[in-house]
């Protein structure tokens, strides 16, 4: 049988934190069909979609019944305690556990449970992170202690949240992506532990100084998860938990200064992950020293984020010229429609990671300090790499990207007609549709080379 094909990456095992097994390249026919459908739907959307804005009204939804509200609150409290315990365990494991990424709790918790699980979980359950965040829990405990000792809690919570920007969060996500995708040893448990402690300390200090509400915009992952939560059917209103159809919440996303940057950084990061898995990139990165690899990946990450950003900025500028609005207004207007695409990219790249490394999480959880424990009875398990077939993974990848594209196009369409009259709205969204087609086709093409 034909042996060698293409020169591949000679770098470290895990290009994105953890995970030894990579996804196979998508078959060309699947990529072509996916891209074709995406383009076809985009053209269909122009003519056949609705002509009055619909999403915002649909996002009103209704209040959940009282028992569901109580159950949700109880579940949130339980989750908060579990997440705090897990965080402490992960940090402990990072410094006292095995130095192999496959037997340490910290890397898999950080890159799989938190980063991927947090994004998908928020898109399904809503904005749960502020209710479970360990930093928030610690800040709440500190605040309670402070009040007991007669001190004052910081005031100004409401104005903090009104004036806060997402710029620090965008920088924070970029730092996370640098650690995960550029640094040459992202799975090193000590490094992960250090990152958690440093970031956690900074966020906790801010929360103690400015109040817990500061975390909602300043916590990089919290800010991102909060945006993705717009895709979920659940939303916490002033009078309680509301339920509405999924995805329509995109209409109620209120961008701040920096929200566009945050979303573009996230999208660019996942795109760069795709670039780094191609054989072409592997040839570039082959035979380099670790820090040389880091430097190359840093340049690559910045370049890809820049390219993704340039496409969006270009599209919104073109749209602004058509409708006569300010470019920044247009950029804010359409940023929510990038969220389904960003989530779709994350699912496409990390679905198999979640399935396989998620099993590893359960195994390591039984023995986080590598002392031979078996807390959950899972210590003797092996990761079952046959749990899902590569064909299933491929379908999920293409399906997610095409669905993300469809939702993005629909959301952009709704934003467009809400902002202008029917005719200019239709023309104003063409540059955005073109950008989305490029994102989608580009994303699919990257999956060709896995």
């Amino acid at each position: 049988m034909v042996a060698a094909l293409v020169l591949a990456d000679a770098g470290p095992a895990a290009a994105h934190g953890v995970g030894e097994r990579g996804d196979l390249p998508l078959p060309l026919w699947q990529v072509a069909w996916g891209a074709g459908i995406a383009v076809a739907i985009s053209f269909a959307a122009i003519g056949a979609l609705w002509h009055m804005p619909r999403l915002r009204a649909a996002a009103e939804g209704r209040l959940v019944p009282a028992f569901a509200e109580r159950t949700a609150r109880a579940a949130a409290l339980l989750a908060r305690l579990l997440v705090l315990t897990l965080s402490v365990l992960a940090v402990w494991s990072a410094f006292a556990g095995s130095d192999s990424p496959n037997r340490n709790l910290a890397p898999v918790t950080f890159y799989v449970v938190l980063w991927v699980g947090g994004q998908v979980g928020s898109a399904v359950l809503g904005d749960v992170w502020p209710r479970v965040s360990p930093i928030d829990t610690l800040a709440a405990a500190a605040g309670w202690l402070r009040r007991r000792m007669g001190g004052e809690t910081p005031a100004g919570g409401a104005s903090i949240e009104r004036d806060a920007t997402h710029r620090p969060a965008a920088a924070g996500v970029l730092a996370f992506l640098w650690l995960e995708l550029a640094y040459h040893d992202p799975g090193n448990p000590r490094v992960v532990g250090g990152a958690i402690v440093v970031a956690g300390a900074l966020l906790l200090a801010g929360a103690l100084r400015y109040g817990r509400r500061w975390l909602r915009t300043a916590d990089p992952l919290g800010a991102l998860f909060g945006l993705l939560a717009a895709l979920a059917p659940f939303e916490r209103g002033e009078r309680g938990l509301r339920v509405h159809p999924p995805f329509v919440g995109l209409a109620r996303v209120t961008p701040r200064r920096g929200t566009v940057a945050l979303v573009l950084v996230t999208l660019g990061g996942t795109t760069f992950d795709g670039v780094a898995r191609t054989a072409w990139w592997g040839r570039l990165a082959a035979d380099r020293s670790p820090w040389s690899v880091t430097a190359l990946h840093t340049v690559g990450l910045v370049a890809v984020v820049g390219a993704v950003a340039l496409l969006y900025v270009g599209a919104t500028r073109a749209s602004a010229r058509i409708t006569g609005d300010e470019p920044t207004v247009v950029a804010d207007r359409y940023v929510a429609s990038l969220l389904p695409i960003a989530l779709a990219y994350a699912i496409a790249h990390y679905f198999s990671l979640l399935v396989f490394e998620g099993q590893r999480f359960l195994i390591v959880l039984s023995d986080p300090l590598a002392r031979g424990w078996d807390l959950l009875g899972t210590a003797a398990w092996r990761v079952d790499y046959r749990l899902i077939e590569p064909t299933t993974i491929a379908w999920v990848q293409v399906g997610a990207i095409v669905l993300g594209h469809v939702l993005g196009v629909a959301a952009a369409h709704d934003r467009a007609i809400e902002a202008s009259d029917a005719r200019t709205a239709l023309r104003g969204q063409y540059p955005l549709l073109a950008a989305m087609v490029l994102y989608t086709v580009g994303g699919l093409l990257l999956l060709l080379n896995a």
């Binding site: 591949a8 056949a48 046959r386």
Partner: protein, 121 residues
Amino acid sequence: MPSSSSRAVLTAAIAVLLTLLLVSCSGSGDTSSGEVVTVEIELRDGEVVGGTQRVEVGLDDEVELTITSDVDDEAHVHVYDITIVLRAGEPVTTTFPADIGGMIPVHLHHDGIMLVQLAVA
């Protein structure tokens, strides 16, 4: 303004496209199984002679991996969790069934340089 009938045509067209896609889905890859795939790697001065390759392997093929290293060393087939002890100058052959699909890296030690990447499909 598009009428409801043209909307119906559009929806029908999309449905047809999707159906075509689903129907044409099977038989995308070749289903050869049980073949023996020989992979030969030579290590010299800590580098793979000829560069690291990506080798296509069919699911359930037998992989015959032969590694010749100029120093005593250890290689690891990830996912399959196979450790290969290498002796200086001696070709070491390991045979295993490729029954797990995906991109499988073979590394020097646990996380050293990649010797070969097996694409098991």
